[in-house]
Symmetry: C2
Subunit: 331 residues, 2 copies
């Protein structure tokens, strides 16, 4: 017998750095016009100029707070949900909090959760476990991602795909018994552990002995292997996700998938076999924003009234590691 | 009205790389004999030769499993609780799982939680929120830390202080109503956000434009400011921790603090004002092992029968960011 966890999305916000068109990238890197849209599905994305993860995260939080009736002093926990960071130490959530206006005035605890591209999905689940209406009434989840630094100019596939962005979601304990998390689950398929990798910059290839090298320090993904693994596992994952629920996939009103890539989203669409209009897609306008993709799409879905109170919403995606994860909630 | 969360520590394990004596470090770096013990309180620590975070974490988990009646297939979640990592991407928990014997055979979800030195304390709290006896019956929390790469040879204070280690703890849902988490809490004091820092290696000082530089890429701490902040906040934190509980600090049987430094532990001892024998101290034999210090000390306390079933145990520490955190549980 499952117990639904009360969690209500109170407000959302985001921050986007400067827009970068595919034309710009194509002309700078000698790609044929239209290469990006054809291969990655991306027309526009945003890349930082001098913004940091901390700055963007703080701006997204301030935007979300301004969309709510809450003040920073009402927040009981800040979760930074993402894979990229300003400094190896301290953790990103501490940096984001310190960059908030009045961030130093409140001793709100800060936690980093990293399941790479699924970090927001995992953190939403974790937040629902914290929210008890006593110690934890309001939690901010923020995903602030800068992937652009780690893009290899010699690899057009990734170069055109990734965008930078931050998005924040404020979730609250609720007694209204409508808004709740129904189920969250994730599987990690270790055969794909190195299908997505930044090799250098950690302890394995420490900078001291490994000076900057484009190959070593850039984001690398084996698209073919990733797709093969996703194709093999996604269908089983989705059908088993609904096995012990009284809903099935067709009861879901809206699906917010991670914006992996054009081909990744096409595969997902094919596997899910639901009406295309149910699947939120912001890939062409924002690219793959790592963990920020899903909360950014969530913000857009709420604002465009695609996601309405009472709707069943499924967050679903894949992540480096390799994992598939999903969280089903009633908005 | 607080509800205690059922969580039972089933088994613990660890992995330590090669021992490095203070004599070795002192003679190599022209420090006077006894410098390390006098200043850092460390006689011995362990530093990796060719081990990775992933390898050490996997070994610690395998040791913990061998101390239990569980198999890897019984595990529902692996949380990597730490601040250091093999690769910037994917997350550390995915790497650790993939290095486990038969790790590829089970699709156990893997999550990274990073509150720097408090990562284990936070993860223990999070694990208690996951454990429901249905979807989550058994969880492994593993802290695998390699700080030695980031030590500045020109800074004897940190050079002599830090050790590498991994420790794993298996926690299970329980119906016995004795073993439980009573309270977990953390405060982040942003005025101390940059008191502990590794400046280079993230997006702020990206490697591409910032080649390896000892100052930039080494761990730096402002011990004086940290102590001042800890002195100001720790007493208030501890007394308010017990405010809404029916226990007080003197009911606690055993305190496992983060092994910050000689002076940090002395300050804690002074503030807590409890019998010294209640405070577990492994600083002199292992140094400060970042997030691995607390689970390593927990393993030792269990093995030396200092921590016995029914005991009230307080995990308590400070972390970069700057945070103070504590978790009180009945073993």
């Amino acid at each position: 017998m499952k117990t639904y966890k009360p969690i209500k999305i109170i407000a959302t916000g985001y921050y986007l750095p400067k827009a970068v068109s595919s034309e710009e990238i194509e002309s700078k890197h000698n790609l044929s016009p239209g290469w990006s849209l054809r291969h990655s599905g991306v027309i526009n994305r945003h890349h930082v100029t001098d913004e940091s993860n901390g700055y963007m995260g703080a701006k997204a939080i301030e935007f979300a707070l301004s969309n709510s009736e809450l003040k920073l002093s009402d927040i009981d926990l800040i979760i930074s949900a993402g894979a990229t960071f300003d400094y190896p130490l301290p953790n990103q959530s501490s940096i984001i909090k310190s960059e908030l206006e009045n961030g130093n005035n409140y001793n709100i605890p800060t936690i980093d959760v990293d399941t790479t591209c699924l970090s927001f999905v995992t953190s939403f689940d974790i937040a629902s476990r914290y929210l008890d209406g006593i110690q934890y009434k309001n939690i901010i989840i923020v995903s602030s991602e800068i992937g652009s630094n780690g893009l290899n100019p010699d690899n057009p596939e990734t170069l055109t795909l990734f965008g930078d962005a931050a998005a924040a979601v404020i979730v609250s304990f609720t007694n209204d018994s409508e808004s709740c998390l129904i189920k969250g689950t994730m599987n990690t398929y270790s055969e794909g552990v190195y299908h997505t990798l930044i090799k250098g910059g950690g302890n394995k290839y420490f900078f001291k002995d490994n000076p900057y090298d484009q190959e070593l320090h850039s984001f690398k993904m084996d698209g073919t292997k990733l797709l093969k693994l996703a194709r093999k596992e996604m269908r089983v994952f989705v059908s088993s996700f609904f096995e012990d629920l009284s809903f099935d996939l067709h009861d879901v009103d809206i699906i917010i998938p991670h914006q992996t890539s054009k081909i990744g989203l096409l595969l997902l669409q094919k596997i899910l076999a639901v009406d295309e209009s149910k699947i939120v897609n912001n890939l062409s306008s924002h690219g793959n924003c790592i963990a920020a993709s899903i909360p950014l799409a969530l913000h857009q879905a709420v604002n465009e009234k695609k996601l309405k109170r009472g709707n069943l919403c499924l967050l679903l995606g894949t992540s480096a590691g390799f994992s598939i994860g999903a969280t089903l909630f009633r908005y």
